[in-house]
């Protein structure tokens, strides 16, 4: 009996041992994936380490971008750009509560620093002053002033404030506002428009082209950096580029391009075969120095109603001489083209500009003014009469496509999307205009023009309180 009991006990113990062994071996065999870690062994302030450790968890995308950036290589951390200056009105008050949140890594008061969410060209100028100076002179930086001087959508209030925020201002930029608590006005944010007016008075956003948080020079050298804004019916630069031989060659050979050349060393022939947008408009080439003023090398304002020289562009006269700038652009061409190619190309372009100005724009403008003078068109609003839309599209859509298509060598945009459409629109416009003049009949005014509710006050921060 006793023997039997010992036997059972020993048996149970053996089974128990076997079971526990099995459990152990299951544990030992399990494959635990290793968490991807990022160690920081750099001389960076502990406050910056706190930013990184916390945002690594909350916004891994931001962190990963930064970690791959050249900023990270140079130990430029969050603080170098986001640290608020004494007296700043845009300090993020809501951010401060995280420093007393014990469950967060580094959620301690000793790491507390004043942070501004929006980084401006002025912040960037601390390390990149020349680029910021050049950019500040460009039409990019001053585009809000320009559109508020010219644009009937804004000045006549023909679209809504949110159509502007999500449409127009997405590229052109908003006028950033903060309330007393440092909370950004939701009607002005998020925004990385090229002409954003920041609270420190600086204009634009470097992250329009060098996107956060990589701030890559390579990215800005690619035409894709420009195509968020430079596309569509009114200025199809990216479509034009893609149609041009420059674009064709870029797409065929871009895997051979050295987009990562150090700033100021990107060289035609060596680093790239055919130019991108940046190569002609910004990068140094031959004797021409690079610039962040994208509008510097332009010799005609092909986006204006009447094509003028940049120094004669009334809303924002460029501080340049078009002859000097054309010579600069020709110098850029010379990396790959001979003089007769370049000069004959420009002859064709100048002729297109002259034709557009004299044959299409001026007669249409004269007729348009006559209609207003005779009271056949109503001046109170714009776009609510069909002739206003037709005149607008003549210069703002196909008129631009014809000129820009020529300048950047896309024959389809010069002709089918350009002058062909100009001809049709011009003929229809004239027919209807003459009909009104002959009969004295007033144009139909659209009474049900939708969502024309936008603010018509020019931004006081740009134009003063007038």
């Amino acid at each position: 009996m006793r023997k039997k009991l010992v036997f059972i006990l020993v048996g149970l113990m053996a089974v128990g041992l076997m079971l526990s062994g099995a459990v152990l071996s299951v544990n030992a065999q399990q494959n635990f994936p290793k968490v991807k870690e990022f160690r920081i062994e750099r001389s960076i302030p502990p406050e910056a380490v706190a930013c990184i450790e916390c945002h690594k968890a909350s916004n891994p995308g931001i962190f990963d971008d930064w970690a791959r950036s050249r900023h990270a290589s140079a130990s430029i951390t969050c603080l170098d750009c986001h640290l608020a200056q004494p007296g700043d009105t845009d300090v993020a008050k809501a951010h401060e509560k995280y420093y007393s949140q014990k469950d967060l890594p580094y959620g301690e008061q000793k790491y507390k620093v004043p942070i501004a969410a929006i980084v401006t060209p002025k912040d960037c100028s601390r390390c990149h002053p020349d680029e910021a100076i050049q950019y500040s002179k460009s039409k990019h930086a001053n585009t809000l002033e320009i559109i508020w001087k010219l644009d009937p959508w804004l000045n006549k209030g023909m679209n809504s404030d949110n159509e502007r925020k999500t449409g127009c201002f997405n590229c052109h930029g908003t006028v950033i506002k903060h309330d007393k608590n440092g909370i950004v006005d939701h009607a002005t944010w998020p925004n990385v428009g090229v002409g954003r007016l920041n609270v420190d008075g600086s204009k634009g956003s470097c992250t329009s082209c060098h996107t956060r948080h990589r701030f890559s020079v390579a990215e800005a050298r690619m035409p894709e950096a420009c195509d968020q804004c430079h596309l569509g019916p009114d200025h199809p630069q990216i479509e034009i580029y893609n149609e041009s031989k420059h674009g064709t060659m870029y797409h065929a050979y871009k895997d051979e391009y050295n987009f990562n050349a150090a700033p100021g060393t990107w060289t035609p022939g060596t680093d790239y075969r055919a130019p991108t947008c940046a190569a002609c408009h910004m990068s140094g080439s031959g004797k021409v120095m690079g610039t962040h003023d994208v509008t510097e090398r332009i010799s005609w304002e092909t986006q204006a109603p009447l094509t003028v020289r940049p120094q004669d562009f009334k809303p924002f006269p460029a501080g340049t001489d078009w002859k000097v700038e054309r010579e600069k652009m020709k110098n850029v061409c010379r990396a790959c083209h001979g003089d007769s190619w370049i000069n004959d190309f420009y002859n064709g372009f100048d002729k297109v500009v002259e034709d557009y100005n004299e044959i299409y724009f001026k007669p249409a403008k004269a007729k348009f003014d006559e209609l207003y003078e005779k009271g056949l068109l109503d001046k109170t609003k714009f776009f609510d009469e069909r002739l206003e839309v037709e005149f607008y599209e003549l210069w703002h859509h196909e008129g631009r496509r014809a000129r820009m298509g020529t300048m950047m060598m896309a024959p389809d945009y010069t002709w089918w999307h350009g002058f062909y459409e100009c001809k049709m629109h011009f003929a229809n416009f004239m027919e209807e205009a003459n009909h009104l003049i002959e009969t004295g009949e007033k144009a139909y005014v659209a009474k049900d023009f939708p969502n024309a509710t936008g603010d018509t006050q020019k931004p006081p921060k740009i134009f003063g309180n007038k």
Partner: protein, 187 residues
């Protein structure tokens, strides 16, 4: 022999006249070169008060940059220094009686205009090797080896540094966060 006596007495006479003249000039220069002297004008008092609490006075090195260290040409440029000092001194006295109100904003701008990088670089000489502040290295390179047309002044980015009204004494050694330039003033 007689000739030497005449010569020696002439030299002696020269010394007797020149020594007090030089030493008095020197003494005057020293007396009028202190911040305390600058603060005797009520227009300048707030500037001196702000300067006293700035990092140009309060730092771990115990170094103090006086008014004239920044606002006048270096004393080793003797002629420039004497001329500028005398001119400004005389002008300030005349203006004191002629001008009703001292325009601080305007004068601050005028001071920024008058600054020469050489004045800052008398003390701040090692500006290119800053491994902990590579952004500053980059920016300083663009000033010291400026691209033509892009010459910049130190005060274009480093402004409101000394004469800013603060509630506290700004001890440099106790500032928790690294100092940053503010970016281009005119942007």
């Amino acid at each position: 022999m007689k000739k030497y006596i005449i010569l020696a007495s002439l030299v002696l006479l020269g010394v007797i006249i020149a020594f007090p003249l030089f030493s008095m000039t020197y003494y005057t220069m020293v007396r009028t070169s202190t911040p305390d002297f600058c603060a005797t004008c009520h227009e300048i008092k707030p500037a001196v008060r702000a300067w006293r609490s700035s990092t140009h006075v309060n730092n771990a090195q115990g170094f103090v940059a006086d008014c004239m260290d920044c606002h006048l040409p270096a004393p080793h440029k003797t002629f420039d220094f004497f001329f500028a000092k005398t001119y400004h001194g005389a002008k300030d006295v005349v203006k004191h009686f002629l001008i009703k109100e001292y325009d601080r904003k305007k004068n601050r701008e005028a001071a920024y205009e008058s600054f020469d990088n050489a004045q800052c670089q008398k003390c701040h000489r090692n500006l290119l090797a800053m491994p902990g502040k590579r952004g500053a290295m980059l920016a300083h390179r663009s000033v010291i080896y400026a691209r033509p047309g892009y010459e910049k002044k130190c005060v274009d980015c480093h402004y409101d540094l000394v004469h800013s009204e603060t509630m506290f004494i700004m001890y440099k050694q106790y500032q928790r966060l690294p100092y940053q330039a503010k970016g281009l003033r005119k942007l």
